[in-house]
Symmetry: C2
Subunit: 218 residues, 2 copies
């Protein structure tokens, strides 16, 4: 009976990896739409989000039926509850990609990101994408070291956010209020994607070690 349980638990984690893969696509395509002003790519991200929502529902159903039928305790119980939280956060990362895609769509055929702030914004997008790509590996391989490492990328994201504010609040800013508001909100969305990635990675650390990352890191 326990073997069936652990097989099903593995299958929940396979589903989480699958969703992380979809989120990786969403972040990459939303960024591509943003930096090229391509409406069709933006639409693809927006319409694909329903697949992430459905995948989340399937994971939730599976997790509930495991909780109900197998009545896990201790570590197994915490693992399933962690999976339920991870799937909510992954879904939220998908929603944030949709927000990025919607700003891209709103400004098309123009590009929302002015040339001179493109390096910072591109780098934010790249860090977010990399973090989601690593998250996929972390979930698939239950990789605690990589999960702890992810927090360092998040520090770069925080630094980029500060740089971005400095750029758009400088006296040289010549792109008006609309572009500044777009950049501020885009920065917020990428920052939140990174925050959720760290949070999901921390849950993997907890599932594997039974401890929160800070305790493991010491």
């Amino acid at each position: 009976m326990r073997d069936v349980f652990h097989e099903e638990l593995d299958s929940v984690f396979d589903d989480l990896s699958g969703i992380a893969g979809r989120v990786e696509d969403a972040v990459r395509l939303a960024t591509s739409a943003l930096l090229t002003g391509d409406a069709e790519t933006a639409e693809r991200v927006i319409s694909a989000d329903v697949d992430i929502d459905r995948a989340r529902e399937r994971v939730e159903d599976k997790a509930f039926s495991l909780l109900s039928l197998q009545q896990p305790v201790a570590g197994d119980l915490r693992t399933i509850v962690a999976a339920l939280r991870m799937v909510s956060e992954l879904e939220r990362m998908g929603d944030l990609s949709v927000h990025v895609a919607k700003i891209a769509r709103l400004r098309t055929p123009h590009v929302a990101v002015p040339e001179e702030v493109r390096p910072t914004m591109s780098r934010m997008a790249e860090v977010a994408e990399d973090m989601v790509a690593q998250l996929l590996q972390i979930i698939t391989g239950r990789d605690v070291e990589a999960a702890i490492e992810l927090g360092r990328d998040d520090e770069e994201m925080d630094q980029l956010r500060r740089t971005s504010f400095t750029e758009l609040l400088s006296d040289d800013w010549s792109h008006g209020v609309e572009a500044a508001v777009d950049i501020a909100l885009l920065g917020r969305y990428y920052e939140r994607i990174a925050d959720h990635a760290v949070s999901v990675a921390n849950r993997v650390v907890f599932v594997v070690t039974g401890q929160n990352p800070r305790a493991v890191d010491v």
Copy 2:
């Protein structure tokens, strides 16, 4: 044994009401700091957030021990998992209030909100505060009708957000980029507080009726 279980479940919901009360204080005080530029009030919100975080940990511990020791199934199981989600969302609402307070603190002794957009921003804050106050009643009284009603306030919030964008993107905007970025981010924070309030209310509907609000509403 079941009676002890339901008593403890009630106590989890009492704790959730208590946290909703703290969130209500946080939203109200953050708004007051924002609209008056009072640094001391902003600091109070920022330093009180740790109490919300600790209260969340206590609810999580209680919910886990209920899950472990009582092995609930069906409705009781779904109620505890709903409580775990509600407490995460309430904590997040506290974090968003801290973000509002931090913008207030950053601009003090000035006020981040220019006079001419004050009506819209004040109304957003008021709607958010009212929604959190109602949420407290909804959780305490397991009030399904009030929970469904809450979605309508959220429609006003969406409308206010659009008005706010129109104001700060108009040709008459004379307050520069910094104030516009503040207003856009503040709007986002209040909107997210409202979204989370609706989400928590929906979970109350689910806990009481076993159905999601859309199904109940029909």
